[in-house]
């Protein structure tokens, strides 16, 4: 059968729309240049050295005992953190969806799910050291334990688990809410106990979802740079080894080869997660619950579960609160009173805080609208349009999700410091603010695109078709119909991009030049030096900024949001 005429006509129709064609070409160029090319150059560089095509570089790095140890360390931590986060996330999600919660515990849960979103990635490491370290508030002053060593394996595991379990909690909560309560009621009705219902109905239905949560956490964990950097001590992971290989050993080829190894691991996990588990999750959990669930009110169940989760939540919140408090003590670990603002003063007087905040702010502020708009355009193209390169655009923008920041950073160094393919072309952007902005955009693009796609999927395709049918071209349709309808998603994408950019560190730390002071890089530096009070002061201000922008977004949405107007439909 010949489908060629139809395809040719589709192509002709697309070409009749120059703005659309230009957009697609620009997008493809951007994605190729700043996502695919840096990864490709890593592979090329590590395979094609001075003596032609060989596995020499790989052989060399794999012969380093530090590197092979880093691989097993990373995998071990990813595995343990993945399992712990999934379990704790499941517990929280189950309690929230199935148990009648007291108002206070409900509030605690909300805060816990919110905190990791607005805080910089290494906050928990800081507070872990300050609470449980050698001069830890709890270990030394409460329990009288001197010489407690938080650095290393357990430090990373605890900190990462506390950082990542809220993500699992949110994911699993969504899944549990999609289980039709009548399935469980039917099992109860046939004589199963609550425990039996959980093990024979709820759990099997959730299994792919749990696997999904595990893998997402696993990927996050092995890609995490900031926490192992601060609390890892001599326990190296892949992300930190790559960083040290560049900044310490100045071995860029070696780092490229290591980055390829890390990338391969995350890509494999990502592949399983994306193409196997996600479809399975969708297959077992279809549609919405037919009616509200009867919540468990039996005190023997609710009380212990609520207490357990609330304690955990309080612990997590305490860890976060420790940071601003730490910035108020005169000398951490020695002198606790009177509380002082001198560290905040020093941020600005002694440590160029103003410049750091200005630089971070400015770069993130430029990057976030670009990111938000790009991700909305990509989502629109992916969900609503039909054209050949669509698969490519979708795949590459999702691929960015699986690329650890460190790998991207090394890719940019290799790819742009000498220009494209070391020819000098485009080399000018290396070391400028532009490349930092591009990294911010690339790093936040997948999250924005994902939320844009899910927002657009909820909009009936025929709404845009009707505008198209009435005479609007693609650009007009996007501007007058699509964008106004996903205003909320656009706004939240804007803020998420801003928050992610201003708290980013893993790729940035490899690319930043002395002419830019970035807050996160500063905090990392102070934390490494042991200057916790000043690090805390920086981090506190950063948290205030990010939290402030989230509040601002919620406020904006309340006034300008479209969702309320549209919700009345059906």
């Amino acid at each position: 059968m010949a489908t060629t005429q139809g395809a040719a006509l589709d192509r002709k129709k697309l070409m009749a729309d120059p703005i659309m064609v230009t957009t697609i070409v620009v997008l493809i160029t951007f994605l190729t240049l700043f996502i695919l090319y840096p990864l490709a150059i890593l592979l090329i560089d590590s395979l094609y050295g001075t003596n032609g095509l060989s596995l020499e570089t790989f052989r060399r790095v794999l012969a380093m005992p530090t590197f092979t140890r880093a691989i097993s360390n990373t995998l071990k931590i990813g595995f343990v953190v993945g399992i712990l986060s999934t379990l704790i996330g499941l517990l929280f999600a189950y309690v929230e969806v199935y148990v009648r919660l007291h108002k206070i515990s409900g509030g605690l849960f909300k805060v816990v799910s919110m905190l990791p979103v607005v805080s910089p990635p290494f906050v928990l490491s800081l507070s872990m050291i300050m609470l449980f370290g050698k001069a830890g508030l709890i270990t030394r002053f409460l329990l009288g334990i001197y010489d407690n060593n938080v650095y290393g394996y357990w430090g990373i595991v605890i900190v990462q688990t506390l950082t990542f379990f809220p993500v699992c909690y949110m994911m699993l909560k969504g899944l549990l809410k999609n289980i039709d309560p009548s399935l469980e009621e039917a099992a109860r009705d046939m004589g199963a106990s609550r425990m039996k219902v959980f093990t024979s109905v709820t759990l099997p239905l959730m299994l792919p979802g749990l696997g999904n949560a595990f893998l997402v956490t696993f990927i996050e964990s092995i890609a995490d740079f900031a926490n192992p950097m601060i609390i890892g001590g001599s326990y190296d992971t892949l992300a930190t080894s790559i960083y040290l290989q560049i900044t310490g050993a100045f071995d860029k080829e070696g780092a490229a080869a290591m980055a390829v190894v890390l990338l391969c691991i995350t890509l494999a996990m990502f592949g399983v997660q994306k193409y196997y588990l996600e479809s399975k999750t969708a297959a077992t959990l279809t549609g919405k619950a037919s009616r509200a669930r009867m919540l468990i009110e039996d005190k023997s169940v609710t009380v212990p579960l609520t207490v357990l989760c609330s304690l955990a939540a309080i612990f997590v919140i305490m860890m976060y609160i420790c940071v601003p408090i730490g910035a108020l003590f005169p000398t951490w670990g020695y002198k606790f009173t009177p509380l002082t603002f001198k560290w905040f003063g020093q941020v600005f007087s002694k440590y160029h805080g103003l410049k750091a905040f200005r630089d971070s702010f400015r770069l993130s502020l430029i990057a976030s609208p670009i990111t938000a708009l790009l991700s909305m355009i990509i989502s629109y193209l992916v969900v609503k349009r039909k054209f050949k390169a669509k698969g490519f655009i979708e795949a590459v923008s999702m691929l960015a999700m699986a690329v650890p920041g460190t790998v991207l950073g090394v890719g940019y160094i290799r790819g742009f410091s000498g220009g494209l393919f070391h020819t000098g072309v485009l080399g000018g952007i290396y070391g400028t603010g532009l490349i930092l902005i591009i990294v911010f955009v690339v790093r936040s693009l997948p999250t924005g695109t994902r939320s844009g796609i899910s927002a657009l999927r909820q909009i009936d395709k025929s709404i845009e078709e009707s505008a198209y049918d009435m005479g609007a071209d693609s650009f007009k349709v996007f501007m007058t119909v699509t964008l106004p309808l996903i205003k909320d998603s656009f706004l939240s994408g804007l803020v998420t991009a801003f928050v992610r950019s201003i708290t980013a560190i893993s790729a940035i730390i490899l690319l930043v030049t002395p002419q830019y002071l970035l807050i996160t890089v500063q905090i990392n530096e102070f934390a490494e030096k042991g200057a916790f009070s000043i690090a805390c002061a920086f981090a506190t201000i950063l948290i205030l900024i990010t939290y402030g922008s989230v509040l601002l977004m919620n406020l904006l949405m309340r006034f300008f949001g479209t969702s309320r107007k549209i919700e009345g439909e059906e």
Binding site: K13, S462, A467, L485, I566
Partner: protein, 358 residues
């Protein structure tokens, strides 16, 4: 009202899709040729998956035909995008723009055509009056009932004065009563506006009530084209007969022709039927018999056994067995007639003109 009524012609149109599971190509529409007269109301009717919506979307431009050419008012339009075609569509889900009020929804297409403000206002108000929505122009779409949203969708398409108006199952989201009143409305407005309309539906009564012509589609192919009467009384195939109204099928053998009637042997009995020119003497044939043109009696052509007998108000419903063939009979106005009970034996009778061979 339309600037110019346009006809639509499809020449050997095919559309090929890939089955998402088996990845095999199949024809959603296969080698379909149609001629739609300017100003007429034509319905594409068929079960889901028959290709009717795909055909409509190819005319609108959302899908591109893999074979053949589509003409609108004599011009080939295959390469035109939907926004460049002189068609306007009323969508199944209405597809109103939820962030605009009624006025802006209707004015959307006019603004794109860069008309001046006053003209737009006059046109929108006129059209809202035509569809019975005067005074509602400031409301948001979610403040309207389903029927009102439907009218906005119609107004929005009409105001553009398109050469052809396309309807994609526009009434399927309304309740039964409203559906009936809306379809008379649609017919009235189409005739007042004098516009060519192509209407997709799977509801046969809608098709009958609305259309000048019905095009019945089956598995991507046109099964029959004709006026509602032609299609109802002279279905060309079992599929068409069954799809339009209820039908009984009696297998038999054509014995001979007598004038315009034919004599068919069914279960060993000779029965007179009309419309037999195409069936040769001596060949196997199927006789189509509408339930409402058949009655039960103590004497008649064919002996049957009653297996279901229910009072339906307007008629008595019977299921009867003729040999091992089940027939349905609607005996209208049953008051005062003899009512057969389950298990009774009886005969069926019908006028020769109300049965025909296919």
């Amino acid at each position: 009202m339309a600037k110019e009524k346009k006809g639509v012609r499809l020449e050997h149109i095919s559309k090929i899709y890939q089955d998402p599971k088996t990845h095999k190509d199949f024809y959603a529409v296969h080698d379909t040729s149609l001629e739609i007269e300017p100003g007429s109301f034509v319905t594409l009717l068929g079960p889901s998956g028959c290709g009717k919506t795909t055909t409509l979307r190819m005319i609108a431009g959302f899908e591109s035909p893999d074979e053949g050419e589509i003409y609108l008012g004599g011009e080939p339009i295959n390469a035109l995008t939907p926004n460049k075609r002189d068609t306007a569509m009323v969508f199944q889900s209405y597809a109103l723009l939820p962030h605009y009020n009624i006025f802006d929804n209707v004015a959307y297409g006019l603004k794109l055509r860069k008309l001046d403000k006053d003209t737009i206002k006059t046109k929108v108000m006129d059209i809202l009056k035509l569809v019975g929505l005067e005074g509602m122009e400031a409301r948001m779409t979610n403040q309207l009932s389903g029927g009102q949203q439907q009218r906005v969708a119609l107004a929005r398409a009409l105001v553009l004065e398109p050469g052809v108006l396309l309807f994609d199952e526009p009434l399927s989201n309304l309740d039964a009563k409203l559906r009936v009143s809306m379809r008379t409305e649609i017919r009235r407005i189409q005739q007042e506006a004098g516009i060519t309309a192509i209407y997709v539906t799977h509801d046969q009564s809608e098709a009958m009530a609305l259309s000048d012509k019905i095009i019945i589609m089956e598995k991507g192919v046109v099964a029959q084209i004709g006026t509602p009467q032609e299609i109802y009384y002279h279905p060309k195939s079992e599929f068409v007969a069954d799809f339009i109204g209820d039908a009984n099928f009696l297998k038999g053998k054509m014995l001979r022709h007598e004038g315009s009637d034919g004599v068919v042997e069914i279960n060993g009995t000779e029965v007179r039927v009309a419309e037999t020119q195409s069936v040769k003497d001596g060949s196997e044939t199927t006789v189509v018999l509408r339930p409402e043109s058949t009655v039960l009696a103590d004497e008649g052509f064919l002996p049957v056994k009653v297996i279901v007998s229910s009072f339906m108000g307007a008629y008595q419903l019977y299921h009867v067995m003729l040999g091992d063939n089940k027939l349905i009979i609607h005996d209208y106005n049953p008051k005062g007639k003899k009512i057969y009970a389950m298990g009774d034996s009886a005969y069926i009778r019908f006028e020769p003109g109300s049965a025909h061979c296919i």
